[in-house]
């Protein structure tokens, strides 16, 4: 009994930390509608800055607390700077581009932190005056944890007062509901947004800084935290601060007790809860549906045009180049080309649901990874030939996609994206924790192709043949009646239903097809690398896919192809030439987003339009 009580208190302390980060994320999303991936980076920066300030300024008790406050404020200023310098320029771009930009910031911050603080874990000082422990039900409980337990509700009350008892809070709530009307009443939303970013980032920084006496500070804490914070925000309801506390409480307690009861599936448990909440209450526990929240990521004005003769020529030349590549390229270049060919299929499969389907997936790597694991397991456990593995991969992934589609039903927009994230995390957790089957972190090794496909050129042709056929089939589907139905459901779901299209069913089929294609890519990748690891279905790989699609342009069928080539090629080059490839990649992503808010292919199409003298699209 005593143990249960202490475990409950542990959960409460974690809930406070989680709440600080999640509330900031929620506030920023509520007002600006930006899903800020960099929020976890701010959390990490808060911890690092507090460490620097506390170890440099450790002059008495004020030193430690001054360091915590100073770090939170400094992170707030960084958040405001991010809003002013980058995000402000792309508020009118589709929301996914903002996400892309914030992801660029994640990469930049990660490498800058590495440059400044080094790769080693850092251990912070203890909090002066709170080093001891108190007796609770005969168990020792650290005083510092008690402080954390108090901070969560305290911040909740302060935020409530700020939002419900000040004019600024009223303006923020008004802008959250209807930005345009607030502007028409004289509210300067740019200043409001900057302030909101400051506030949200202060909360993230504070959350990070307060970890100083609790855990070691490292470069991975940001990403782990932002994913948990997403879960909290979505479970609590996007934009709802009390919801964030409630969800943080639930999830932290689930963690605290889950680890006792089901130590093997703690990771799955959290995402399972999120999936259940989203299916039962699609807007989260305390969330409300947003007015004017776009259900899809592409502007409805996006029309797919038939390929121009020039584009057909480019395609034909590209095809010849593909065939000739093994004769011109060395072995290393050929492996890169093989990898690109596989990732093109991965990107095209994601584009299939994002572009024509208008559904964002943060977890597309789940299907890629499932395909890879299916192929690897068939090959290593059943000793089946590669062809069987490549056949099983898309089938397993496609079935998983169909199952996911069946559950996610009518969700759309950010909520759907979050559910895909949850599903991918569940798959990742299974691969990571079910070591008996998957080898856990060690993965499955020795998944090599048979002798006929073993030479680099042979496997290259195999990958190109399968990938190209699948991509062409996806293209065909987009331009077939099925594609029309999918696009109609994206642009005007109600009208599409009114003319007899079963929008939900169309989306489910699209999901299954995309998942199957990603699975095929995963299977190819498994035999290409000769091994399979949990990272294949991790969030960073899903984000890779998103980046490829968004870089190429969501509104163009050739976008994912171009995006995959540019992204993989760029990454490959950067890794070769610099240790700080994340920094370079992050800067490149931010620059590309600022320069081409419609993606590379979209930009090319606009150029072509302009040359033809078509009227310029109005910059709405």
């Amino acid at each position: 009994m005593e143990f249960v009580a202490v475990q409950f208190l542990n959960g409460l302390a974690s809930a406070s930390s989680l709440f600080l980060v999640a509330s900031g994320l929620s506030i920023i999303f509520g007002v600006t509608r930006i899903v800020n991936f960099a929020h976890g980076s701010f959390y990490m920066l808060g911890a690092y800055m507090a460490w620097t300030l506390a170890t440099r300024l450790s002059a008495g008790p004020l030193g430690f607390w001054g360091a915590i406050i100073g770090a939170a404020l400094a992170v707030g200023v960084l958040g405001a700077a991010l809003e002013v310098t980058i995000l402000r320029r792309i508020y009118r771009a589709p929301e996914m581009f903002q996400l892309l930009a914030t992801f660029g910031v994640v990469l930049v911050v990660e490498d800058l932190a590495l440059l400044i603080w080094g790769p080693a874990d850092l251990l912070g000082p203890r909090a002066p005056g709170l080093r001891g422990a108190v007796d609770i039900f005969g168990q020792r409980f650290p005083e510092y944890e008690l402080l954390l337990i108090a901070i969560g509700p305290l911040v909740l009350v302060l935020l409530w007062l700020l939002f419900y008892r000040t004019r600024w809070g009223t303006l923020v709530r008004a802008a959250t509901e209807d930005r345009e009307m607030a502007a028409a009443l004289g509210v300067d939303q740019r200043r409001l947004f900057t302030a909101v970013f400051f506030l949200g980032s202060v909360l993230a920084g504070l959350g990070g800084a307060l970890q100083l006496p609790r855990e070691t500070i490292n470069l991975n804490m940001g990403f782990a935290t932002v994913v948990e914070a997403f879960v909290v925000v979505v479970v609590g309801g996007l934009g709802s601060v009390p919801g964030a506390y409630l969800a943080a409480f639930l999830i932290a307690e689930l963690h605290a007790f889950g680890i006792l009861v089901f130590p093997k599936i703690t990771l799955v448990l959290i995402f399972l809860v999120m999936a259940v909440v989203l299916i039962v209450r699609p807007h989260g526990l305390l969330g409300r549906p947003f007015v004017g929240l776009p259900a899809s990521v592409v502007s409805p004005a996006a029309v797919l045009r038939p390929s121009s003769p020039a584009a057909r020529w480019v395609g034909a030349i590209g095809f010849v180049a593909l065939l000739a590549a093994p004769f011109a390229l060395g072995d290393y270049a050929l492996t890169v080309a093989t990898e690109i060919a596989i990732l093109v299929l991965f990107a095209a499969s994601l584009h299939f649901i994002m572009g024509p389907g208008g559904m964002v997936s943060f977890g597309h790597a789940a299907y890629f990874g499932l395909g890879a694991y299916a192929a690897a397991l068939v090959a290593s456990r059943l000793a089946a030939p590669m062809v069987a593995g490549l056949f099983v991969a898309p089938v397993v992934a496609g079935l998983a996609g169909a199952a996911f589609g069946w559950f996610s039903g009518r969700l759309s927009g950010v909520y759907l994206a979050m559910l895909t994230l949850a599903f991918a995390q569940i798959c990742w957790s299974v691969a990571f924790q079910w070591a008996e089957l998957t080898g856990g972190d060690n993965g499955i090794l020795g998944v090599w192709p048979p002798a006929w496909a073993a030479p680099a050129a042979a496997y290259y042709y195999l990958a190109v043949a399968l990938s190209l056929s699948a991509v062409l089939l996806l293209r065909r589907a987009i331009r077939a009646p099925f594609g029309y139905a999918l696009r109609a459901g994206r642009d005007a779901p109600l009208r599409a239903e009114a003319i007899g299209i079963d929008v939900a069913a169309t989306r489910r089929i699209a999901f299954a097809v995309a998942a199957g294609s990603a699975g095929l890519a995963g299977g190819l990748f498994a035999f290409f690398k000769g091994s399979v690891f949990p990272t294949y279905l991790s969030i960073p790989r899903s984000v890779d896919g998103l980046l490829m699609v968004l870089l190429g342009g969501v509104n163009s069928v050739s976008g994912p192809v171009i995006g995959a080539i540019v992204y993989t090629g760029l990454g490959e080059q950067l890794v070769r030439f610099t240790d700080y490839w994340r920094l370079a990649m992050g800067v490149a992503i931010i620059a590309l987003v600022l320069a081409f808010p419609e993606g590379i292919a979209g930009f090319a199409a606009r150029l072509a339009d302009r040359r033809r003298g078509a009227p310029a699209e109005d910059a709405r």
Binding site: R173, A174, A182, A184, L185, G186, A301
Partner: protein
């Protein structure tokens, strides 16, 4: 006070306003009449900076404000009451009013919450009610009161009586006349000729993004041909 000169505006590639010229003088109530889809709302939104002006000028108090952000336009004294009211549903009546608040201006009537409650007695009884739980007529009153909290020099009223019960239409007419007496300048869009007749001094008639008639309300009432051609259904 406000002058639109050859204003063109687009939604995507659709050409909505094809050269609008109109003027509103200080203290006037001017009505923009036209059928659904003629471009009334777009004209008001273009003046407010909510729809980009592709070419042409929007001159307010001598300065070209085309291309400025909506909040800047609101702060130099143009108030906007949208057609669909757009009350902040999660905010109370008092909070909705607080969002509209701006400092007083020397050359425009000054409004306080208490004065507005005098003008709209219904609202006084529901200070703490969330905007989402009010009737259409009450929301319309609140929308106007919220805009008046900014002490505007000119108010753009977009179809203020659309969808309201006849009794409330009369009340609205009295309200607009009261605002005029206070010295407020009003540009409203309307389909309801009967209502327009009660409140407006001058009228413009718009069709397919172009002005077809301009003159006093009396002249429009005398011109049966123009009324049939551009306004009757």
């Amino acid at each position: 006070m406000l002058r639109l000169e050859a204003v063109h505006a687009y939604y995507g590639r659709a050409h909505i306003l094809a050269g609008i010229d109109l003027a509103v003088e200080r203290g006037e109530a001017v009505v923009l009449l036209g059928r659904n889809g003629a471009g009334k709302t777009t004209t008001l939104k273009a003046a407010m900076g909510l729809v980009p002006v592709a070419t042409g000028r929007v001159v307010f108090l001598g300065a070209d404000i085309a291309g400025r952000a909506a909040h800047e336009i609101a702060r130099i004294g143009i108030g906007y009451v949208p057609e669909d009211r757009r009350i902040f549903a999660g905010l109370t009546v008092m909070e909705n009013l607080a969002v509209g608040r701006q400092p007083p201006r020397r050359d425009a009537p000054t409004w306080t919450v208490e004065r507005l409650f005098g003008l709209f007695p219904n609202l006084a009884a529901m200070r703490d009610r969330p905007g989402g739980r009010m009737s259409g007529g009450e929301q319309q009153m609140l929308s106007i009161a919220r805009t008046l909290m900014g002490n505007p020099r000119l108010v753009l009223l977009d179809e203020p009586v659309e969808g309201l019960a006849p009794a409330i239409v009369e009340e609205m007419a009295r309200t607009v006349l009261a605002l005029k007496r206070e010295g407020l300048t009003v540009l409203l869009s309307e389909q309801n000729l009967a209502f327009a007749r009660l409140v407006a001094d001058r009228a413009y008639v718009i069709e397919k993004g172009q002005l077809r008639f301009s003159g006093t309300m009396a002249a429009l009432m005398a011109d049966a041909a123009a009324r049939t051609r551009y306004l009757s259904i």
